[in-house]
Every structure is written in structure tokens, then in C-alpha cells.
């Protein structure tokens, strides 16, 4: 049977959802693979929703909002854009193709554009093939990674950086300085990498208590990396030592909220 990708769309009520309606009213045809979830504003779309959808085997997630400047809520769409940027970076870490998540702007008068974008996205996903974690034999590694990514996206630090990006870059920080965009991007990608690594460790230890060496082998990380992160994570109360085998501590995850 031909591959029929499963695509979930998250659309804002005011522009993109209206654009999708207009495509229909104008009888513009597009592939029927997309299933649309309506939210009031693209700013509502928590990275969590997207990761959760991917974890459950969606082949693609299409997020749509109003064009910059058109947002019904002034700038919710710009927040959506920042979240998408963060997510792209994060998904890239997991081994899943980051193109499976895509953000576009569609106005209420752009029925044809909506149809075109859906068609293009569907074609792209069809070419990519089924999501590696869908179907009978999901790729366990990527699935594990995505679960770690989901924890990461829920992480306080990342959410603060993404939530405050606009303010830091365009207004001023607590010291009355503007943060250059490049610097913030750097900070963000650094934070993504670290938090993601920590969450992989955390998730791994949740299932089984392990030593640093074993962790580094299973997660394909240097022991140095694992160790530094474990130190921080212990401070945060995320990990504890379950027992000591000889001189080797065996770590376990602690329950965090």
C-alpha cells in the first residue's frame, strides 16, 4: 500500500484556520492527510504538544499562524516562531528529521497559499517516509531520545530563555543592557544541548540504575560529559546514588515534579 502520511496541523483561529476555511470554500483541493487542531493563537502551541504528537507517531506536524504583524493577539505568532526555532534545534539532536515539524504563516485571504503549503508539506513528508517511531517496529533509540527531548522542552531554563528572548534581545535585561541576538542564540543552543543530555541521563536512570561508565557507553557520551552533568543533576536533586559497587557509585533518578 502506498504510504499515507499522518499529519497533524495546529492552526490559529484568526488567520490560518480562516485561510484553511477559505481554501475549502474556494474548492481548492489539497491532500487529505492533514488533521487540524484549532487553537486561538499560534502562541498557545506548547512545544510539548508537538513533541507529544511526534512521539505518538505523527509523520509530520504543521504549525500555522498569522503573518508577522497580523497576529490577533499582537505578537503571539512571534512567540510561536521562537518556540519553533528552539524545537528545530532540539529535534535535530534526537535523530528524528527536524523537517517533520514546520511553521508557516497563512492569512485569512490566502486559501490558495494554505492549500499549496499543505500540499508541499505532505509531499515532503511522503518523500521522507514514515516516521521512524511509527508502526510495528519503532526505532527505540529515537523514541527514547524524543522522550528526553520532551522533558527538555518542559525544562525551566529553556522555557525561560525562549519566553524571554524577545524581551532580552529587544528591550533590556536586568542590567539595562540589550543582549545581542547571536549571543542569545548561542546561549539557547548551548542550553538545549546540555539540558537534553541531562534528560537523556535522567530517563535512562529512571529505568535502571547505572554507573557513569555504563551510562557513557549507552548514551554514546564521554565519561567526562556524563560526570559533569551528574554533578549538576545531583545538586538539583534529580539524581541520587542508589548503591556503591566497590568504588563505583550507581546512580538512580529521583522523582521530580
Amino acid at each position: 500500500m502506498e504510504f499515507e502520511p499522518k499529519i497533524v496541523g495546529f492552526l490559529c483561529n484568526w488567520c490560518s484556520y480562516a485561510g484553511a476555511d477559505l481554501a475549502g470554500v474556494s474548492r481548492i483541493q489539497y491532500p487529505p492527510n492533514i488533521r487540524i487542531v484549532r487553537v486561538m493563537c499560534s502562541g498557545r502551541i506548547d512545544p510539548d504538544f508537538i513533541l507529544e504528537t511526534l512521539i505518538h507517531g505523527a509523520d509530520g506536524v504543521l504549525v500555522m499562524g498569522c503573518h508577522p504583524g497580523d497576529c490577533h493577539y499582537i505578537e503571539g505568532n512571534l512567540h510561536a516562531e521562537r518556540k519553533a526555532k528552539m524545537l528545530r534545534n532540539l529535534i535535530a539532536e534526537t535523530g528524528l528529521e527536524p523537517e517533520r515539524m514546520h511553521l508557516e504563516w497563512v492569512s485569512a485571504s490566502e486559501g490558495a497559499r494554505f492549500a499549496q503549503l499543505v500540499k508541499e508539506f505532505t509531499d515532503r513528508i511522503t518523500k521522507l517516509g514514515p516516521s521512524p517511531i511509527s508502526g510495528e517496529n519503532p526505532n527505540k533509540v529515537i523514541l527514547e531520545n524524543l522522550l528526553a527531548a520532551k522533558r527538555t522542552a518542559g525544562d525551566f531554563r529553556l522555557r525561560v530563555i525562549v519566553g524571554r528572548e524577545r524581551e532580552l534581545v529587544e528591550d533590556k535585561n536586568a542590567y539595562g543592557e540589550k543582549v545581542p541576538q547571536e549571543k542569545l542564540d548561542e546561549l539557547l543552543s548551548e542550553a538545549i544541548k546540555t539540558e537534553y543530555t541531562r534528560n537523556r541521563i535522567y530517563n535512562m536512570l529512571e529505568k535502571e540504575s547505572l554507573s557513569v561508565r555504563e551510562l557513557s557507553k549507552r548514551l554514546d557520551l564521554s565519561t567526562q560529559d556524563v560526570l559533569t552533568n551528574i554533578v549538576v543533576m545531583r545538586k538539583k536533586g534529580m539524581l541520587g546514588v542508589e548503591r556503591i559497587e566497590g568504588t563505583t557509585p550507581i546512580y538512580m533518578s529521583l522523582e521530580v515534579r
Binding site: D21, P32, R35, R44, I74, R157, R159, G163
Partner: protein, 565 residues
């Protein structure tokens, strides 16, 4: 908030044929049969037109007969039809937020007309998704808060006074806070008014009298606003009058603080030569009758406006003002030769253009210069002024001698506009004027509910435009005051105080100022101000924010339902 008793969802699903619009592509009966198999669906039926009065009564009957506590209609778009179906639910005694729609026409049958199989599958999925959300829906109410039927008007110029009078005539109490000892603003300094040459003092005194004699209006002169707390309906305002604080409780606030006139220090010999004036100074000379007969007058436009860098904007009124004053001088001293050196003449509309035509007919000379070749003004020992300028029509430099040079300078933001913008928590634009909620369709509202702007505080404009805006504000502000309450949207965010760490991210993100920290540093939502975008919930680092009617659980459930099976 009392947690509602968890009831077992009993969802009713109504699938619309929409004549042949859906039924011609999607196998509606199949969708109905499928719907019956979805968990918690207690009833499902098909309608020819669910939105017809027959369809509506079927929904109401089924709610009663099958004891439904959630309703899903699979038909067209919620953007147009949700209110209708919500009403039906309400009429059958069901909270209207226990309703959900599946858009199987606009986004299914119409968009996949040639793929009936796939369209039917998609329609089933869309119904399944709607049911998944509906199961988790909760009743919502739209809380009301009282509005004090009294307005604060900041600024007692023509705009502020006009707004105050109209609101008073509509039955509301008004406090005008004016910084200066007298009402009147810029109008008090003007001589005659373009475009129809009314006497400024007459215009002023008639409105000042009306304001002062109106019992609903309380005028506070030599006063300034010190502090504003609260939100629409209940602003707690502290005014400083003669150095004494005064507390006012106000339902709405109008910003009518006007603008200043730019002083062209160091430009074209202003200040160094007493015969170089601004239009403002010329108005004064004309008003007091102190203008001695000049042989020649040269007016220069765009002095400090429409700059390449810096003050880029056009001040809108200066061309009209220059032509007005040229015509007045022509009237006083017919022999006086008048030149207006301009870049692009902004005599828009009917009347300003008519003044321009009249001025040309009466012999006022118009010379066009370009921004790359601005005029130069120099003076000789006898105080005579020489103006060298490029003439874009003759395409050469021309030289004029003159007794008087009048500089047309723009209206610029009040010096303390920023201070006031901070007190009110409303923004200024990049040009320094107050910035409205939406440039096109909400030109006199602020994004913050209950606060409005009019007149030259918003941008340079003439008196008739200021009056139009001021009356406009009197309507906008009257809406909550006439209703005596504002009804909050049900779709607002709520904060779980136990989870909130007080990081303040939501406070910064909210474009409406709906979230503030309370005494102990925990975020709090003012639901009447919240517009329900949900950006705060999607961004909260602690995930402490829930969006009503679009909760994380509801959205994910809806999305994941698409992936089942």
C-alpha cells in the same frame, strides 16, 4: 475554584449533510455509525442541515432525551457557526462551553471533493478528535466585574474637553486633569484656524464655558497624574494637585495630552536672528496684532520633519498652517509678497486643497525644494535676510531677500510622554507618540482595556481630526460605563499558585498587561483583561498556567486522537 464533580461524559454527535455539500462527498451514514463506536458517545445522528431550525431542535431534544452532557456537531466552521450551536446547548440547559465542532465541510468535503474514501476517513478522524476534546471539556462562566461610571481625562486641550463633554452628555462623571493653570492647550495660543478661518479665541471660549458649566465635569487644573493602579472598571488614580495628593476611583481613562511644537534651535538662524520665527511665534504676533507690515515673508516647510534619519514623520498640519497664515498676512497687507518653500504640499482633502488654490490665486508664491538641497538663510548687517534655495521647477538656485522668515516646525511628543506611558503601562511608538492597540481598526484604543487615546497625543493632527477622535473615544469609553460592567471572556488563563515560582515570564509576555505579580510575588491573572491567546500557558517555565477551554490535556487529546487506529 471548586472542582466540578467528575461526571461521566455522554457525548451526542450530530453529523450534517449540508445538503450535498458534505453528503455528496463524505459518507455521512458511515460517519454516524463510526461515531457511535467512539468511547463515551451516547448518541449520534445525521441531519440534512444541522443549522436549520429543525436541526437545532433535534439537538435540543436529544440533549434531554439521551441525557447528553457534551455535544459535538460535525459540519462547517466554528468561526461562523459555533455561536448558533452553543446557543442551542444553552437553551437545552447545557453550559455552552460543553460544545465542540468538527469541520468536515470547509476542511474536508470541499477540499477533497474527488477523494470520497479518504474524505470519509478524514471526517471520521475529525469527529473522533472533536469527541476526544469534548470529553474533557468543562463548563465555563463569564464572570462580570462592575465598572465605575466615571472617566479620567488627562489633558485639557480641545481633545480632552471634547471627550469630557460628550461623556458628560451621555451621563457619566468626568475628571479632567490639566497640568497648566488653564484649560485650552495649543488652541489657546492660536490666532485663526485653518481651514475655515474661525477665530481661535471664540472657539476656545465656547467650549471652555461648556466644560466649566457642566455639572458632571470636574476640572482639576495645575494637576498631574502621579500613579495609576487597577484595571478597567476600577482604576485607582492618584492625582497631584497643587502638591497635594488626591485619590480618584475611575472606570476608564482617556489620554489627551497633546503635543509640543518643535523649537528649531540652531536651524536657519532661529534664535540668533529675531526675524526668524516659528509659525507658533507668528500666531502670537497675529493674535496680539503686533505684526508690522513686512515687504516680504518667506516660510520654510518641513523644518525638523521628514528627515532622512531622526524625525522621519510628516507633521500633517504645517502646510495647512503656513497657507493659513500666508492668507491672513495677505489679507492684512495685500502688498506683502509671500513665499512658501515646501517639499511636498500636504493639502489633503477638500478644504486644505481649496486653501492652497486660493493662496495661489492670491499670489502666494510656492517654491519646491528637495531634501538634498535645503534652503539656506543668512542675514546682512541691516538685519535683512537672504534665503538661497533650489527651485525644483526652475531647476536652479534662486535667491530671495526677506524681512521675515517663518519656520514651519512639527508637533513633537510631550517631554513627559514616556513618564505617563509608564504610569499607565501603555506603549509609545518609535516616533514617541502614544501607540494604539491596532493601527487600522483600533486607532483610539490601547491594547490595555479601559484606556484610550485621542488628539495630537496619538500623532499630529488638526483640530477637526482631534475632535473626531475625541468623540470617538467618548464612545469607546462609554461602552463599559454604559453597561455598568464588563464581562470577562471565559477563555482566559488561570495560575496554579502552588506551582508558580514568580519568575515573571508570563508578566512580560502578556501583551495586554493581564498578568501581574501579587504581594508575595506570585503571578495573578485579571481575567477581564485577559484575551485568551494562551501564549502565557505555552511559555510558563513551571507549567503553572492553564488555559480554560484550551487546556494542555484537551489539545493533546485532540491531536493524539488523530493518530489512533
Amino acid at each position: 475554584m471548586a472542582t466540578p464533580k467528575k461526571e461521566i461524559p455522554r457525548v451526542g454527535v450530530f453529523v450534517c449533510h449540508c445538503g450535498i455539500n458534505i453528503g455528496g462527498v463524505v459518507k455521512v451514514s458511515e460517519v454516524v455509525e463510526f461515531a457511535k463506536t467512539i468511547p463515551d458517545v451516547a448518541y449520534a445522528e445525521a441531519n440534512l442541515y444541522t443549522c436549520s431550525s429543525e436541526g437545532i431542535s433535534k439537538i435540543k431534544e436529544a440533549i434531554k432525551k439521551y441525557n447528553l452532557n457534551r455535544v459535538v456537531v460535525a459540519s462547517c466552521t466554528p468561526r461562523t457557526h459555533e455561536p448558533l450551536f452553543r446557543n442551542a446547548c444553552e437553551e437545552a440547559g447545557l453550559n455552552k462551553y460543553l460544545f465542540e465542532m468538527a469541520n468536515i465541510r470547509d476542511q474536508c468535503s470541499w477540499a477533497h471533493m474527488h477523494e470520497p474514501e479518504k474524505a470519509t476517513t478524514k471526517a471520521k478522524d475529525l469527529v473522533k478528535m472533536a469527541v476526544a476534546k469534548a470529553r474533557l471539556l468543562e463548563p465555563q462562566d463569564e464572570p462580570e466585574i462592575d465598572v465605575t461610571p466615571s472617566a479620567l481625562v488627562i489633558g485639557g486641550g480641545i481633545s480632552g474637553m471634547t471627550a469630557a463633554l460628550s461623556m458628560a452628555n451621555q451621563g457619566f462623571n468626568v475628571n479632567i486633569v490639566e497640568r497648566e493653570p488653564e484649560l485650552g492647550g495649543m488652541l489657546a495660543k492660536l490666532h485663526m484656524l485653518c481651514p475655515n478661518f474661525e477665530d481661535a479665541s471664540k472657539a476656545l471660549s465656547s467650549i471652555v464655558d461648556a466644560v466649566k458649566s457642566n455639572q458632571k465635569i470636574n476640572v482639576l487644573t495645575s494637576s498631574e497624574v502621579e500613579d495609576v493602579k487597577g484595571f478597567i472598571g476600577n482604576f485607582d488614580v492618584t492625582v497631584k494637585k497643587d502638591d497635594k495628593p488626591l485619590k480618584l476611583n475611575q472606570g476608564t481613562i482617556v489620554v489627551a495630552t497633546g503635543a509640543e511644537n518643535f523649537e528649531p534651535i540652531n536651524m536657519y538662524g532661529y534664535k540668533s536672528n529675531e526675524n526668524v520665527l516659528t509659525q507658533m511665534q507668528l500666531e502670537k504676533l497675529l493674535k496680539t496684532g503686533d505684526l508690522r507690515k513686512p515687504d516680504k515673508v518667506v516660510m520654510i516647510q518641513c523644518v525638523g520633519a521628514r528627515e532622512e534619519k531622526g524625525r522621519q514623520y510628516c507633521s500633517r498640519i504645517c502646510c495647512g498652517v503656513a497657507i493659513k497664515n500666508a492668507l491672513i498676512i495677505k489679507d492684512l497687507y495685500p502688498e506683502t509678497e509671500l513665499f512658501i518653500i515646501f517639499r511636498d504640499l500636504q493639502t489633503y482633502g477638500q478644504e486644505y486643497e481649496a486653501c492652497y488654490t486660493e493662496a495661489r490665486e492670491k499670489g502666494v508664491h510656492f517654491i519646491k525644494y528637495t531634501s538634498s538641497n535645503p534652503p539656506e538663510v543668512s542675514s546682512n548687517s541691516e538685519g535683512k535676510l537672504t534665503i538661497k534655495t533650489y527651485d525644483a521647477f526652475l531647476k536652479e538656485m534662486v535667491e530671495l531677500e526677506s524681512d521675515l522668515v517663518v519656520l514651519s516646525t512639527p508637533l513633537i511628543p510631550q517631554k513627559d510622554a514616556e513618564k505617563l506611558s509608564k504610569i499607565l503601562k501603555v506603549p509609545l511608538g518609535s516616533d514617541g507618540f502614544f501607540f494604539e492597540a491596532h493601527v487600522k481598526l483600533r486607532p483610539i484604543d490601547f491594547a490595555t482595556d479601559g484606556i484610550f487615546v485621542c488628539g495630537s497625543a496619538h500623532s499630529p493632527k488638526d483640530i477637526s481630526e482631534s475632535i473626531s477622535q475625541a468623540l470617538g473615544v467618548a464612545s469607546r469609553a462609554a461602552i463599559p460605563m454604559a453597561n455598568k460592567h464588563v464581562r470577562a471572556d471565559a477563555i482566559t488563563s488561570i495560575i496554579n499558585e502552588d506551582l508558580c515560582s514568580g519568575c515573571g515570564t508570563c508578566v512580560r509576555i502578556c501583551p495586554y498587561g493581564a498578568i501581574q505579580k501579587n504581594e508575595i510575588g506570585i503571578a495573578q491573572v485579571t481575567s477581564v483583561v485577559c484575551k485568551g491567546c494562551g501564549t502565557c500557558a505555552a511559555s510558563c517555565p513551571e507549567k503553572a498556567i492553564t488555559m480554560r477551554h484550551f487546556t494542555d490535556d484537551q489539545i493533546t487529546a485532540q491531536a493524539l486522537a488523530a493518530l489512533e487506529g
